[in-house]
């Protein structure tokens, strides 16, 4: 009984898992962005790698895949345009990495992209992974555009390489907090966050804005981004009898939380930020999602001039949009647009152009302020009615229709 052997079945199983794991990484070992000064005539075509990072496994893998699909669509569209930069026909290639929404893994895959000599990175999805990874990209000297990291700290580190195409949590938190206190007439607010950089950061801003508008925070409770049982904290909140409950967290937390609120007989209105403002939340919470108020940074996609085409292309290829795929699409396009303007794919040459972006994207006009935040980023408030996200109102933002130079006013609520 002491023989140790590896059964054939296990080997086959392991091999198939390994194969599946490796499939996506088999990129041709094509040329990394070489110095553009090299003889232009020698090489008519060139491959430019763009990195993309989001969690592709774990509780919010659906959002990660959504981001990656947005970026993939952008790369496909750009390749179809046959872009020529500095006399070479450019083929863009997306290197999709999985950071598991884990800050440690985030820095590991960031280094991997640096070693793969990508020209720029779109990502990461979570603030918690974006912030530590941004230091690595800054060191490597190529631009990083996050489609969804909304924690203000990301662009406050003084990195010339960090950009985002979405309004940050200071803006979003202020809109949610003010909306709860003023439009929903909430006197007592309970705030829950999932202890991630995103959830905690947003919850703090909501708390500030709600208190500034005369509401009282009666409970501040915490969970984590992998939990599914919230009855203990909800019971505690129920005893405080709030008018409004705010969740700083993702849809995967919000769905079961809404159902459990109903089971406990909690009558308070539920509000959440962009992480929970998705069709997935409606699917997970079912009827319990009726009447939920949530915000998304940016304008509703169907309200944008270029939105229709994107929605049609995306849904026919990948199915329904979750939240951020229009932003990851735009982030890739901003990188490519900057390369075109610089007439170079060398990060050192085209990085300064990223900051000067004035691009009409799917999500509206994209311009960056000196920190790398989007100028005049829009926030939209939604209500879930009959299983659909219905727009209540939008604040800020510029549509492509109003593409004239916008006043560079950063939102007044911004600190520092």
């Amino acid at each position: 009984m002491n023989h140790v052997r590896i059964p054939g079945v296990l080997v086959v199983l392991a091999a198939s898992v390994a194969l599946i794991g490796c499939g996506k990484k088999e990129e041709p070992k094509a040329a990394a962005p070489a110095p553009v000064a090299a003889a232009a005539a020698a090489q008519p075509t060139m491959v430019v790698k763009i990195g993309h990072v989001a969690p592709l496994t774990g509780p919010i893998a659906h959002l990660g895949k959504d981001n990656e699909n947005g970026a993939r669509l952008a790369v496909d569209d750009a390749n179809a345009q046959k872009i020529v930069i500095d006399g070479k026909l450019i083929t863009f290639e997306l290197l999709g990495e999985d950071d598991q929404a884990d800050p440690k893994t985030g820095t590991v895959v960031a280094q991997k992209l640096v070693d793969a000599k990508v020209a720029g990175v779109v990502g990461h999805l979570n603030s918690g992974t974006t912030i530590p990874a941004s230091a690595i990209y800054n060191q490597a000297g190529f631009p990083q555009i996050s489609p969804s990291a909304t924690n203000p700290k990301y662009t406050q580190q003084g990195f010339k390489t960090a950009f985002r195409v979405m309004a940050n949590d200071v803006q979003q938190g202020s809109v949610v907090g003010t909306y709860a206190a003023k439009d929903m007439h909430a006197k007592k607010i309970a705030i829950i966050d999932d202890r991630t950089a995103y959830g905690q950061g947003l919850a703090d801003e909501v708390e500030k804005a709600a208190v500034a508008n005369g509401a009282t925070v009666v409970a501040r409770e915490f969970t984590n981004d992998k939990a599914i049982d919230f009855k203990a904290i909800l019971t505690k909140i129920k005893a405080k009898n709030p008018d409004v409950i705010f969740l700083g967290g993702m849809d995967a937390v919000g769905g079961p939380m809404l159902k459990q609120m109903k089971e406990l007989g909690i009558k308070a209105k539920f509000t959440t930020g962009d992480g929970g403002c998705s069709p997935e939340l409606i699917k997970l919470a079912g009827a319990a999602s009726e009447g939920v108020i949530c915000t998304q940074a940016g304008l509703p996609v169907d309200k944008l001039p270029n939105g229709q085409k994107f929605v049609a292309d995306f849904t026919s290829k990948y199915g329904p949009i979750q939240i951020y795929s229009p932003y990851s699409y735009d982030a890739v396009m901003v990188l490519i647009d900057s390369m075109k303007r610089a007439n170079s794919v060398d990060p050192a040459k085209y990085l300064p152009e990223v900051g000067k972006t004035a691009y009409n994207g799917v999500t509206g006009k994209i311009e960056f302020d000196e920190k790398g935040d989007i100028k005049n980023g829009a926030i939209t408030v939604f209500e879930i009615k009959d299983g659909k996200l219905v727009t209540l109102k939008s604040e800020g933002g510029s549509t492509a229709a109003a593409a004239a130079p916008m006043p560079a006013a950063a939102p007044a609520t911004e600190e520092k």
């Binding site: 392991a14 898992v17 893998a61 992998k226 009855k231 904290i233 019971t235 079912g286």
Partner: protein, 307 residues
């Protein structure tokens, strides 16, 4: 007072789920001293299989309870096969190896199962269709649902059945003999390979039952749900004394209640110095304190490394 009552109800339901999963850990550990870290994933597969069956039968016009029953049955059978296969493929070849080897294999199997589930059921959350119409009852200001009642009573029934099986039947006697000393049991004519396989099969069947409960209680399933659940259930098993069936049950219920009360009252107890994000820490502190005074858990026997 109604808050306290509500927290106790929350904790008991959560605890009943932990207890059922913990029974699967303890069953295997009690007999061969292996911590089967893949057990949480067996529970997950149980939920997923039940989900698939229920969704495919949902349009057939059968009564919902019958569909739920069929889903439960199919998932129990699938998990039994899975448990048997795990033992046969991953653990039996390592029977004589040092203790650490099968432990690492178990962690490996847990990852393999997670990834296989991700390939089959995708990476999105799955909404478990509610088959039992939820009724909400209110007693003394606290609310509970019929689903919660079903979970607690089913868990109690399963545990009683298991204790009967182990202490009153032939296979149970063979299990206890193998647990005490596999070599001697073999010499007495016990087919220990069969007994060990049975332990895995029964443990996995319990996992499937737990999986269906988790599915119908939270109405949500995900390919990574087994990991945290498994970890908590393992903690519950250690708390109660791993290898001991009654201990697993007590440990599970206790852990559930501690977590609920911890989340509910830790702020008040510490003057808001610690918030509800310390609820897991609270549970682990209790575990450490118990293990300091009773190193083999609440119900664990003093001698030996096996029950």
């Amino acid at each position: 007072m109604d808050t306290l009552l509500q927290q106790l109800i929350n904790g008991l339901t959560l605890g009943a789920v932990y207890a059922l999963v913990a029974l699967g850990y303890t069953m295997v550990y009690g007999i061969i001293g292996l911590i089967n870290f893949a057990h949480g994933e067996v529970v997950m597969i149980g939920t997923m299989v039940a989900f698939t069956v229920i969704v495919s039968l949902a349009g057939s016009g059968m009564p919902p309870l019958l569909i739920l029953g069929i889903g439960l049955l199919v998932s129990v059978v699938v998990c039994m096969v899975l448990g048997w296969a795990l033992e046969r493929v991953a653990y039996r070849p390592l029977r004589g190896a040092p203790r650490l080897t099968p432990l690492i294999t178990a962690i490996g199997m847990s990852m393999v199962l997670q990834n296989v589930a991700m390939i089959i059921w995708g990476r999105n959350y799955i909404t478990f269709p509610p088959m039992i119409e939820k009724h909400i009852y209110t007693v003394g200001g606290a609310t509970f649902t019929n689903v919660q009642m079903a979970i607690v009573s089913l868990a109690a029934l399963v545990m009683l059945g298991l204790i009967y099986l182990v202490h009153r039947t032939r296979i149970g006697m063979a299990m206890r003999a193998t647990a005490q000393n596999p070599q001697v049991a073999m010499l007495m004519g016990v087919d220990i390979n069969r007994v060990i396989a049975m332990a895995f099969i029964i443990g996995s069947a319990l996992g499937a039952v737990a999986g269906c409960m988790v599915g119908s209680y939270y109405e949500i399933a995900h390919y990574q749900m087994g990991f945290m659940l498994g970890l908590k259930a393992f903690t519950a098993a250690v708390l109660g004394g791993i290898g001991n069936l009654a201990g697993a049950m007590a440990g599970g219920l206790l852990l559930g209640v501690i977590e609920a009360l911890g989340a509910g009252y830790i702020g008040q107890l510490t003057g808001d110095f610690l918030g509800s994000h310390y609820q897991d820490i609270f549970a682990f502190i209790v575990l450490i304190v118990v293990l300091m005074f009773r190193p083999s858990g609440l119900f664990g026997e003093r001698e030996g490394d096996r029950a």
